[in-house]
């Protein structure tokens, strides 16, 4: 019961800041912009897809539909969404220390473990809500705007996924995205436990994400060896949800890697938070 109370407190605090709503505003503005762009320039994309298929297929119906756009929208997950998630995750501990509210919050008769856990769960719930909002805006609003249809994916060739299957693939992709974004959120919490201001964790998290991406893309043997250990290596796992057959081995590996990183980041953050002397 106390956990529910504390999680409620944390959600109440998170959603009392205007910056929390930036993620939703961002999705609310950019996703319709994508749909508008595709509805205006969709015919040329359709022509390109048809040309790529050559004479081997007979296409019936619209190639550019809500699923196609939702697939493109998922590319926000590389940088934009992580930044918005880090903005909230980075503030969850350091923000309290910066403004001095720890002095009233941590003197209540509740253990630091419970407070930490409630803050972490609230941050992950926020992360989940952003991914769900992205899904609802992409597929829900997209279905109303452009209708549904088969999903054409250009990935090592052309893959046409029937509309019925596409739903399942998107559910899997959003699930994997949530795990990946949870890694970002928990990394931000780890940084948040280390410092006394809320800006540092956001910069720190994004710096790590960008540096790891950059290192991952360098075609050097040494980096090839260590790349599997980077958490950013599995950021693209959602794209594999649209492969045929689905590479389950890779997805399980990415899932376990994500879970391991989440536990490590949260474990590290808790140890720091538990031992921390509040001097501000």
């Amino acid at each position: 019961m106390i956990y529910l109370t504390l999680i409620r407190n944390e959600l109440f605090k998170i959603f009392s800041y205007w910056r929390t709503y930036m993620s939703y505003f961002f999705i609310l503005l950019l996703v319709p912009l994508f749909f508008w762009g595709f509805s205006v320039g969709g015919s040329s994309i359709e022509r390109q897809l048809t040309n790529a298929m050559g004479d081997h297929f007979l296409m019936v119906g619209k190639l550019v539909n809500a699923f196609t756009v939702a697939y493109f929208v998922l590319n926000f997950l590389w940088i934009h969404i992580p930044f918005l998630i880090a903005l909230v995750g980075g503030d969850v501990l350091a923000g309290e220390e910066a403004v001095g509210t720890y002095r009233v919050y941590l003197t209540r008769p509740v253990s630091r473990w419970r407070i930490f856990l409630s803050k972490s769960i609230a941050t992950l719930l926020y992360t989940l809500s952003v991914i769900l909002f992205l899904g609802i805006m992409s597929i829900g609003v997209g279905a109303l705007w452009m209708g549904l249809g088969d999903l054409v994916v250009l990935q090592d060739g052309i893959l046409v996924l029937p509309a019925g299957t596409a739903f399942v693939r998107f559910a899997l992709a959003y699930g994997l995205s949530f795990l990946n974004m949870s890694m970002v959120a928990t990394l931000a919490i780890l940084f948040s436990a280390m410092v006394k201001n809320a800006v540092g964790p956001v910069i720190g998290t994004m710096a790590i994400v960008i540096i790891f991406f950059a290192i991952s893309s360098l075609p050097l043997d040494f980096f090839e060896t260590i790349r599997p250990f980077f958490f950013t290596t599995y950021f693209d796992s959602w794209t594999k949800a649209f492969y045929d057959p689905i590479p389950w081995d890779y997805l399980w590996l990415s899932t376990w890697t994500a879970l391991l990183h989440i536990v490590l980041f949260l474990g590290g953050a808790f140890l720091i938070f538990k031992r921390k002397d509040i001097l501000s």
Partner: protein
């Protein structure tokens, strides 16, 4: 020596190091239940460090403590039944005073609206309860800080320099409020301050800390008994007769005339005898006041340190 179940706070060998800095050194302190205990020391002496250890904000390097007769290795369990205001009161500025209080009250299950409104009435913020804290003055935030400390009717209130940053009117308001709480709730109040007159005005017991060392603690009267020389201001007539007598009296170390009084240096224990002798000299004694008793005591301890 008090039994531990009659003590609101008991520390044994409490020590805290920050690297090479010794913020608290082997502090063993007893605060009897039902007292207003003033914890005095210059800035940086270790007052806030001790309070932060007691409230779980800082981890002690060594030593133990018990609160309201309870010992626990889980620090948070000791915080049941205590209310604390540590340093300046800071809140979630984007939330109203009521929501801030509710948020904190939920953590200990004392979030009935009637209880919250009652507290807001007590601290004089009821009419502003729905305003965001960012619109509050520092005095109002400080009162809200006292309000959150009162959640759940605590038996022990720990207040760390509660008048910090307040104007003189705000200081008087907070002091009156503390006095009222002590009287109405018969709670123990542990109050740190570096304002000597504030402590003298409010407290029944004091503790003195210098550079992390607790140099004295006990009831004010007991401590003053062992003070040694004090300064006594006598309002008497005729002044010339009194001054002549005092200058020739063996009990008096020195006597000076000020604008309105005769200022006498004398050992504390000799004061009653001197006043008796003075009365026999057909001198009218209108008042005999020991100015800045605590200040004198504080400075004497500081010199000894």
């Amino acid at each position: 020596m008090n039994n531990s179940n009659q003590l609101a706070i008991q520390t044994e060998g409490l020590t805290k190091h920050f690297g090479v800095i010794h913020a608290l050194q082997d502090v063993s302190l007893q605060v009897p239940e039902g007292t207003i205990f003033g914890f005095l020391g210059p800035n940086g002496a270790g007052k806030s460090t001790l309070i932060r250890v007691l409230t779980g904000l800082i981890h002690a390097s060594a030593g133990h403590f018990a609160i309201l007769g309870r010992r626990s290795k889980h620090n948070f369990q000791l915080r049941q039944g205590i209310g604390a205001l540590v340093d300046r009161a800071d809140f979630y500025k984007q939330l109203s005073g009521y929501h801030n209080l509710e948020l904190l009250a939920r953590m200990s299950g004392h979030n009935k609206p009637s209880h919250l409104n009652d507290i807001l009435h007590q601290v004089g913020l009821y009419n502003r309860r729905h305003d965001k804290v960012k619109s509050y003055s520092q005095g109002m935030k400080q009162r809200l800080g006292l309000g959150q400390a009162l959640l759940g009717d605590p038996k022990l209130l720990i207040l760390d320099e509660p008048t910090t940053g307040l104007d003189p009117i705000g200081m008087v308001e907070i002091r009156d409020f503390i006095r009222k709480i002590a009287e109405e709730r018969s709670a123990t109040i542990f109050l740190s301050s570096h304002l000597l007159h504030e402590v003298e005005e409010l407290c029944t017991h004091i503790g003195l800390i210098f550079s992390g060392d607790l140099v004295a603690h006990g009831s004010i009267e007991d401590l003053f008994q062992h003070m040694g020389e004090i300064t006594l201001d006598l309002e008497v007539t005729p002044t010339d007769v009194a001054e002549k007598f005092l200058n020739s009296n063996d009990l008096v170390q020195s006597c000076q005339q000020t604008a309105t009084t005769l200022r006498v240096s004398i050992l504390y224990e000799n004061v009653p005898e001197l006043l008796r002798q003075l009365a026999r000299q057909e001198v009218n004694i209108f008042s005999a006041s020991q100015k800045n008793r605590l200040e004198a005591f504080f400075l004497a301890q500081a010199e000894g340190k």
